[in-house]
């Protein structure tokens, strides 16, 4: 591309610590990268913000960065007020803001609606450009699949997902490409239809690198509260992997007064974690994966898996420098923005959106299982196979 790409940002809300702020600010203000304060070689020229509340900072950003203009509709943001698509890349950030929830507890962020308005402009213009969509594609599986299918049929580069797959790791390791994996597990924290997605992406970005690649998922079952502890007791997931994941945490809640970092006993864990949640699922090739949310016990995301012929344990933490308690900057957005930049410059996604299509379906299936008395949910629709990229895409430089 011989000129600087023009980028549009379509967002729900722009306030301190909203995903819009983390992502769009990095395009405007630059960010620390490879020993420099790096400015993306592209211009964020248009901004659509659906909700402007008292905590809004989009006005400040529009004033300080006059090359970026605010538009009242998505179509205008994409056409820059003209007739046709006039940008070279689109950021869709439908996270945060006041939106209703459904009876399953899913927040109805308008990612699908924003996406479809964008697609209308693409269609009317006879042209499409690369798109990044923050977090999972939609709360609704059918919509997510439709979004994916449209990207395929129109042929534009499409990336989505969480920062977890691309942030720092301690240790800084990846799943060796093509190794056999017999079980994978992630211990994280947070709520249903929110951080469960991050934990699923943490797990998926590792196991997708296994022998023969990702094959899709056959079924999922959720466990919560007492049934979680029963499943743990019955070793439905490996205790050793669970312990290994916890041993990667930097935030284990001390289980004993006066000690700063003891390893909790099972009884102590039950005292600390009032509402444990697991989604366990089987991939088509037989791999068993388990996503665990241990609210109260940890505040980080930790992966462990059995790999290779000797069933060695590979484990790491996907580290989130999370403000405001530990940092001031949510710098896990820096590698995410860097990957997005690469897509905007090359027209190619740096990792497959099929990962996020799958994790979107896993979140929906997890929510369904939880709202259906933890029933085992068959997932023939998650027949999603793909190959991971050979090169690692997490932050390590």
């Amino acid at each position: 591309m011989d000129k600087r790409p023009k980028i549009a940002a379509i967002t729900t809300i722009y306030h301190k610590y909203a995903h819009t702020q983390h992502i769009v600010d990095r395009f405007l203000e630059g960010y620390g990268w490879n020993s420099r304060h790096h400015y993306p070689p592209m211009d964020l020229v248009s901004l659509y913000v659906e909700q402007v509340k008292e905590n809004d900072i989009s006005k400040d950003r529009l004033e300080r960065f006059p090359t970026m203009k605010g538009y009242p509709t998505i179509a205008e943001a994409l056409t820059l007020g003209g007739e046709e698509l006039a940008v070279d890349g689109v950021l869709l950030i439908g996270e945060h803001g006041e939106y209703p929830s459904n009876d399953k507890g899913q927040r109805l962020y308008p990612r699908y609606e924003h996406y479809m308005e964008m697609v209308k402009v693409f269609e009317n213009s006879g042209r499409s450009v690369p798109v990044f969509l923050d977090k999972h594609l939609s709360w609704n599986w059918d919509w997510a699949k439709e979004m994916y299918d449209i990207s395929q049929s129109m042929g534009f580069a499409f990336m989505a997902g969480s920062s977890l797959p691309v942030t720092w790791r301690t240790p800084s390791i990846d799943m060796p490409l093509g190794t056999s994996v017999s079980e994978g597990l992630c211990v994280g924290y947070g709520g249903v239809d929110s951080y469960d997605f991050h934990a699923l992406e943490t797990l998926q970005c590792m196991v997708e690198r296994r022998e023969d690649g990702e094959s899709g998922v056959k079924w999922l079952q959720a466990y919560r509260g007492d049934s979680f502890w029963n499943a743990h007791h019955e070793k439905l997931w490996s205790r050793d992997l669970f312990e290994s994941a916890l041993s990667r945490s930097h935030t284990l809640t001390p289980s004993r007064h006066g000690f700063n970092n003891p390893f909790p006993t099972l009884d102590e864990m039950k005292e600390i974690v009032k509402d444990p949640i697991a989604y366990q699922y089987e991939h088509k090739d037989g791999l068993k994966s388990t996503m665990i949310l241990m609210n109260g016990l940890v505040q980080d995301f930790n992966f462990a898996g059995y790999i290779g012929p000797n069933q060695d344990i590979l484990s790491t933490q996907m580290y989130l420098p999370m403000p405001p308690a530990r940092t001031t900057l949510a710098n896990f957005f820096s590698p995410l923005v860097n990957n997005i930049e690469k897509m905007f410059l090359t027209g190619k996604a740096t990792y497959p959106v099929e990962r996020t299509l799958l994790t979107t379906g896993l979140v929906a299936a997890g929510v369904d299982s939880l709202s259906d008395d933890e029933a085992k949910i068959d997932t023939p629709h998650l027949n999603i196979s793909y190959q991971a990229t050979e090169e690692s895409t997490f932050w390590r430089t």
Binding site: S35, R36, S247, N260, N261, T327, T328, A330, N331
Partner: protein, 391 residues
């Protein structure tokens, strides 16, 4: 099973003694496992016992004995040394300061009492000494010399050299360095000590190995910025170090934005009283520690490698309180010392940093003058294998 004597100033929640000794009692995270050392704390000496301290509780629960003297702790109640290793934690507790604002922790005194037992009983065991060896270089040197003279392993220093790095990088071994800048925060001394040792664990890997420090100077205030403009320290390396920070203050605190702290000039508004510690080495290499309270809250480093256009930079990752798992990284090194009898990296690093800090503080005390430091002629080679957490 190795038997350990713990010698400490104070044992209370979140003191270094509690962080360190507890990990030998309840285990710690190591390479993706909860590791329980095959070692036993058998005796404890604690210098100060204010209300709420934990030494007796720990002794009761874990079956060791608190002794009234260091010699008795090492002899474990008998008349001969009866332990295989010493964990000496002279940090925290109520001790006076000197005119250089150094806290006069009795690390040297603790160490010399151990050495006396070693000499009297005819057997010496490895000692880990937490943080700098002593506030005073002569004392610190005597400690390291005792180790060589009696043939026991001495490991010392901060957790920063061994904690996780973001990114996981090290200085390529024996590579020529053209400059280094370390950014630190916190009070002086203790936190400038941590920052200096973090810087030293990187620059000691340079071509030819460590040659010792020829001169130091500590300046503060606007002179620091002027020295940067004059090229006495590298703005490029400061930008590289700051590019690794997760904690810029000011406008980032206000609305979360990323900041080019140098480019926008915010840096100069945020830091009330910057300080620069200039270190000139015997081989001509120069490195600078910038203490930038108010600008950031983490510890970041950058160095220029000869023939490499992009500086090497990283953050020394101080993991969150209360777990402070960075201290677990150091415990793994202490365990290695106790198992093998050999320090995984030389105490000369800590000796040099102890003396460098003392001379920097003297420079400040004497009106920020440049001080030649022929006594800091401490030469050593770092191990080629990286020692920080990366597995």
């Amino acid at each position: 099973m190795k038997r350990i004597a713990v010698i400490t100033t104070i044992y209370r929640y979140l003191s270094h003694a509690q962080h360190f000794a507890d990990r030998f009692l309840v285990g710690y995270p190591k390479e993706g496992k909860w590791h329980r050392p095959d070692m036993k704390v058998v005796s404890l000496y604690v210098d100060q016992k204010p209300e709420g301290e934990q030494s007796e509780d720990r002794a009761r629960e874990f079956g060791f004995t608190v002794y009234p003297t260091i010699a008795e702790a090492l002899r474990y109640g008998g008349d001969q040394i009866a332990v295989d290793a010493v964990l000496s934690i002279g940090e925290h507790g109520d001790y006076p300061n000197n005119e250089l604002s150094q806290v006069l922790y009795p690390r040297y005194e603790f160490f010399k009492e151990c050495v006396k037992v070693f000499e009297d009983d005819g057997r010496a065991v490895p000692i880990f000494n937490d943080k700098h060896l002593s506030y005073n270089f002569e004392k610190a040197k005597e400690m390291v010399d005792d180790g060589h003279r009696l043939g026991f392993g001495v490991l010392s220093g901060s957790s920063l050299p061994v904690t996780w790095r973001l990114p996981d990088v090290d200085i390529p071994y024996d590579h020529e360095l053209e400059g280094a800048v370390m950014v630190g925060v916190g009070g002086s001394d203790p936190m400038d000590y941590h920052a200096l040792e973090a810087m030293q664990c990187m620059v000691e890997r340079r071509k030819g190995g460590e040659t010792g420090v020829a001169a130091v100077q500590l300046i503060d205030g606007d002179e620091v910025w002027k020295a940067g403009e004059d090229g006495r320290w590298s703005l490029e390396l400061l930008e590289a170090a700051l590019s690794r920070s997760d904690t810029p203050c000011g406008l980032t605190d206000e609305d979360g934005r990323t900041q080019n702290l140098i480019g926008t000039g915010e840096l100069y508004k945020l830091v009330d009283n910057p300080a620069a510690y200039f270190i000139e080495y015997n081989d001509g290499f120069k490195a600078t520690l910038l203490m930038l309270n108010g600008a950031v809250r983490d510890y970041c480093f950058a160095a220029k490698l000869k023939n490499e256009p992009i500086p090497v930079s990283t953050q020394f990752f101080l993991t969150p309180t209360p777990n402070v798992t960075y201290s677990a990284c150091l415990i793994a090194k202490i365990e290695e010392l106790y198992e093998t009898g050999v320090a995984p990296y030389p105490a000369e690093r800590t000796l040099l940093v102890s003396g460098t800090l003392e001379s920097c503080l003297k420079s400040r005390h004497q009106g920020h003058v440049r001080l030649e430091t022929p006594h800091l002629n401490v030469q050593y080679r770092a191990p080629e294998e990286s020692q920080h957490a990366r597995r």
